[in-house]
C-alpha cells in the first residue's frame, strides 16, 4: 500500500511500537494523539501516537550539518530519522474485522499507516445498539461513538479546567442518554445550564436539555421565582439528619462541638430534631437554657449550634412539611422511575450559593437513594444517573465516607444508581472514588496533581498524560469502560445540527448507513 508512512522498527506490547518514518514523510504531518495502524499478516494493530521524536545515527553530522534542503532530505533516513512511538491498544482481525484488545505484535518492518475512515468506523463506529456520536478524532472528521449502555452501567466523570468544555460535553452525553432512554438523570445544576436554556460564550443563549426534550425532562428550582421551572424544591425538616448537616460543616462554619451537639439532639428527637432547633431560634435565653438542661447539653453549645444552623434554616425551601407527598423528593423519584429526567436548578437568590447547592444535592440524593435501595428490584428497573458539578466538594477523602455520594460511587451496580461527576479538580476527589469511575472524559487540565489523579490506576497512564498535555478547549481524552481504546477527540459541535438530530423521531447518522458505503 502506498499510504505507508513507515515501518515497525522495534517495540513490545508493554513499551509500545517504534515506527521509523519513511524519509518522504514529514514528521509535522503527524500529531500526538493521531491513530496509527500497523499492518500485520493476520491483524491490523490499532494504536495512538504517544510521542514523536527525531534522532540521528551518526553524531558527526552535527559538527558540519547539511546546508540546504536537498542535503537535509538526502541524509534523512540514513543518518537522521524521525520516529513515532505508538501505543497499541487493539487488534482488528483482518478476516473478520473483529476487534480485540492487544495480545500480540506484528513482525519487523510491518507497514505503518495513519488510521483511515474505515479503521475508525470499525473501532469507534458504534456497533452497539445504543451507540452515540460524541466527537471526531483530533485530525479527522470521522465520527466517534460511545456505547451509552456501557456508559450508564458505571460511574463516569468529566474533568477539565474552566472553559475546557465540560458542560457542553456533558450536555451532549446527557442528550444521548435521554434520547435513547438509557437512564433517568438527576442533574444538580449548579450554574443553571441544563434546563430550558444555557449560555454559550460564543453564541449567547442556546437550547439546553429541557429545550431539546421537553417531554422527558422536568425542571425543579429551589427558587420559586423561576418561571421556566415545572416545580419547586421543597425539603421537609424531617429529611435532614445531623449527618447531613455535618457534611456542610465547612460552609456553615460549623465546629466539631456543634456537630456533636446536633448528633445528641438528633438521637433524642429523631427526625423532629431540626424542627426543634428551628423553634429554639425564636425563644428567650431562659427557655433555651431550660431546653439545654433537658437535652443534657451545655447551654452555650446549644446557642452555638442554633447560630451555626442559622444559614441552613434560612433557606426558604427547607420547610415544615409533614406529608411526604408534598416534598419534592417523592415527586422527583416518581419522575425518575418513569424515565423522566430531572434538573434541579438554583436561580434567583440561590444562584451560585454553595450552601444551597450542596445541601440540596446531598439531602435529595440520600433520600432518593434510600427509597430506591429499599424498593423491590423491578421497581428500580430504571437506571438513575446522578449528575453533580464541583463534585470534589462531595467526594474528597475527608468526607466521602460521611455522605451518600461516596456510597453511590462504591455501590453503583447494586442499586442501579450511578454517579456522573463534573469537576475541575480531580486531585481533590478521593482516590478510591476515582477508581470507581468507569469512563473518564478528561479535558484540558493544567495542574500536575490533577493530571496524575485522572490516570491513577490506569495502565499506560503516563503515556496518556503526554496526549492530555496537548489538548485544546473542546477536546477530550476519553478512556475507560464505554470505549474500546482511549480516544483523544474533538467534541462534536453543540448547535443546530445537534438539535435536529435530537428531535423526536429523527435518527442520528447511523454507523450502519456508513458501513454500506463499503
Amino acid at each position: 500500500m502506498n499510504d505507508s508512512i513507515g515501518f515497525l522498527k522495534s517495540g513490545s506490547i508493554g513499551d509500545g511500537f517504534l515506527i521509523r518514518l519513511n524519509k518522504t514523510v514529514n514528521s509535522e504531518s503527524l500529531q500526538i494523539g493521531d491513530f496509527i495502524v500497523v499492518q500485520g499478516d493476520l491483524y491490523d494493530y490499532f494504536g495512538i501516537i504517544e510521542d514523536i521524536r527525531i534522532g540521528s545515527s551518526n553524531e558527526d553530522i552535527f559538527f558540519n550539518p547539511p546546508e540546504n534542503k536537498v542535503q537535509k532530505i538526502a541524509v534523512k533516513g540514513a543518518i537522521t530519522f524521525s520516529e513515532l512511538l505508538v501505543t497499541p491498544y487493539l487488534m482488528i482481525e483482518k478476516a473478520t474485522n473483529r476487534v480485540i484488545t492487544i495480545k500480540t505484535i506484528p513482525e519487523h518492518f510491518s507497514d505503518a499507516r495513519k488510521a483511515n475512515e474505515r479503521d475508525i468506523r470499525i473501532v469507534f463506529g458504534g456497533n452497539a445498539e445504543k451507540a452515540f456520536y460524541v466527537g471526531s478524532p483530533l485530525t479527522m472528521d470521522e465520527q466517534i461513538y460511545i456505547d451509552l449502555e456501557k456508559l450508564a452501567k458505571r460511574n463516569n466523570a468529566i474533568f477539565g479546567i474552566t472553559g475546557s468544555g465540560k458542560t457542553f460535553l456533558g450536555r451532549i452525553i446527557f442528550s444521548g442518554l435521554i434520547k435513547h432512554d438509557v437512564a433517568s438523570l438527576l442533574i444538580f445544576d449548579m450554574h443553571n445550564e441544563y434546563g430550558q436554556f444555557a449560555k454559550s460564550e460564543k453564541k449567547g443563549k442556546i437550547k439546553s436539555l429541557k429545550g431539546l426534550f421537553d417531554a422527558k425532562v422536568k425542571v425543579f428550582d429551589v427558587s420559586d421565582k423561576n418561571s421556566d421551572a415545572d416545580d419547586f424544591i421543597k425539603i421537609p425538616y424531617k429529611y435532614i439528619t445531623a449527618a447531613d448537616v455535618a457534611m456542610l460543616s465547612s460552609l456553615l462554619s460549623y465546629s466539631q462541638h456543634s456537630e456533636e451537639t446536633a448528633r445528641i439532639i438528633n438521637k433524642r428527637f429523631g427526625d423532629k430534631w431540626l424542627k426543634h432547633v428551628e423553634e429554639l431560634r425564636s425563644v428567650t435565653e431562659a427557655e433555651r437554657e431550660e431546653k439545654a438542661k433537658e437535652l443534657g447539653v451545655n447551654p452555650s453549645s446549644l446557642s452555638a449550634l442554633i447560630r451555626h444552623l442559622d444559614k441552613l434554616l434560612s433557606l426558604d425551601f427547607i420547610q415544615d412539611i409533614t406529608k411526604d407527598e408534598d416534598s419534592s423528593v417523592k415527586k422527583i423519584l416518581q419522575y425518575l422511575k418513569n424515565g423522566t429526567s430531572v434538573v434541579v436548578q438554583f436561580s434567583g437568590k440561590y444562584a451560585n450559593k454553595p450552601l444551597a447547592y450542596f445541601a440540596v444535592a446531598n439531602i435529595i440524593t440520600r433520600r432518593i437513594h434510600e427509597l430506591y435501595a429499599s424498593a423491590s428490584e423491578e421497581e428500580r428497573n430504571k437506571r438513575i444517573m446522578i449528575v453533580v458539578e464541583e463534585a470534589h466538594k462531595l467526594l474528597s477523602s475527608d468526607i466521602k465516607d460521611k455522605n451518600i455520594f461516596g456510597t453511590i460511587a462504591r455501590e453503583m451496580r447494586k442499586y442501579n444508581v450511578t454517579l456522573f461527576v463534573i469537576d475541575q479538580r480531580p486531585s481533590e476527589i478521593d482516590s478510591e472514588v476515582l477508581s470507581q469511575v468507569g469512563t473518564r472524559f478528561v479535558m484540558q487540565l493544567m495542574d500536575e496533581k490533577d493530571m496524575d489523579a485522572v490516570f491513577q490506576g490506569v495502565g499506560g497512564g503516563s503515556r496518556l498524560k503526554k496526549i492530555l498535555r496537548t489538548l485544546q478547549p473542546q477536546e477530550v481524552l476519553l478512556f475507560g469502560y464505554a470505549v474500546m481504546a482511549p480516544v483523544p477527540m474533538r467534541v462534536r459541535e453543540y448547535g443546530t445540527n445537534f438539535y435536529d438530530e435530537m428531535k423526536e423521531g429523527s435518527s442520528e447518522p447511523s454507523p450502519d448507513d456508513a458501513d454500506n458505503l463499503y
Binding site: I61, N64, P66, I73
Partner: protein, 189 residues
C-alpha cells in the same frame, strides 16, 4: 568512431590502457569496450617507451620543446588506468563482470544514454565506494566530478536525481559523514 585507448595490461582489478598525447580521458570518465565492458578511469601516467630510459630536464616551455626537440615526446607513451565494473547490454547495465577484457581491447567513449543507464543502477555507487582510497587517493574527487557531469547533462529535475543518488550514498557512508559531506558539497545543483 575513434577509440580513446587500448588495453595493454590486464589485471583482475584494473586495466592499463594506452591513449594519445593530449587526449587522455579525464578522471571519472566512463569508457566501454567494443564488447560492452564498462570501466571507470581512475588514474593517469606518462611513461617511457624505452625501458630504463630516463627523461632529462630541458628548462624550456612545452611549446619551445615541441618546436626544438619533438623526438622527446615521441619516446613517451600516455597511459591511463581504468577499473572495469559492469557490462552494457541493450537497454540496461549489469553491475558484474561476465566478460574478460582481452589485451589490446579498444576503449571508446560512452554516450549519454549509456551513462544514464549506469546511473539508474544505484549499486553503481557501491562499486565507486569500494574503490580503495589508499590506492586511488583521488577517489572522492572522481566521484564528485562523475556525479557532477551526470547531473549537468540532465535536462530537468536535477533536484530529484540529487536526492535519489545522495539518499543512497548516505546509506553507504552513514558511518563516514565527513566524506559524505565533502561529496555532497562538491556536487552542486
Amino acid at each position: 568512431m575513434k577509440h580513446i585507448g587500448e588495453v595493454i595490461t590486464v589485471r583482475s582489478d584494473v586495466l592499463v590502457a594506452e591513449g594519445e598525447r593530449s587526449a587522455l580521458p579525464p578522471l571519472g570518465t566512463i569508457l566501454k569496450s567494443d564488447r560492452g565492458v564498462l570501466c571507470l578511469v581512475v588514474s593517469h601516467s606518462i611513461d617511457n617507451k624505452i625501458p630504463g630510459r630516463m627523461p632529462i630536464a630541458y628548462g624550456k616551455s612545452i611549446e619551445q620543446l615541441e618546436r626544438e626537440q619533438p623526438q622527446v615526446f615521441a619516446l613517451m607513451k600516455w597511459m591511463f588506468q581504468a577499473i572495469p565494473f559492469g557490462t552494457l547490454s541493450e537497454d540496461s547495465v549489469e553491475l558484474f563482470l561476465n566478460k574478460v577484457v582481452e589485451i589490446h581491447t579498444l576503449l571508446f567513449e560512452t554516450r549519454k544514454e549509456e551513462r544514464d543507464l549506469v546511473f539508474k543502477e544505484l549499486r553503481f555507487f557501491d562499486f565507486l565506494f569500494s574503490i580503495d582510497k589508499s590506492v586511488f587517493p583521488q577517489r572522492d574527487k572522481i566521484i564528485v566530478s562523475l556525479v557532477n557531469a551526470y547531473l549537468n547533462d540532465l535536462l530537468e529535475v536535477k533536484e530529484d536525481e540529487y536526492i535519489r543518488i545522495f539518499s543512497y550514498i548516505s546509506k553507504i557512508l552513514r558511518n563516514d559523514y565527513q566524506t559524505l559531506k565533502y561529496i555532497m558539497d562538491g556536487v552542486g545543483i
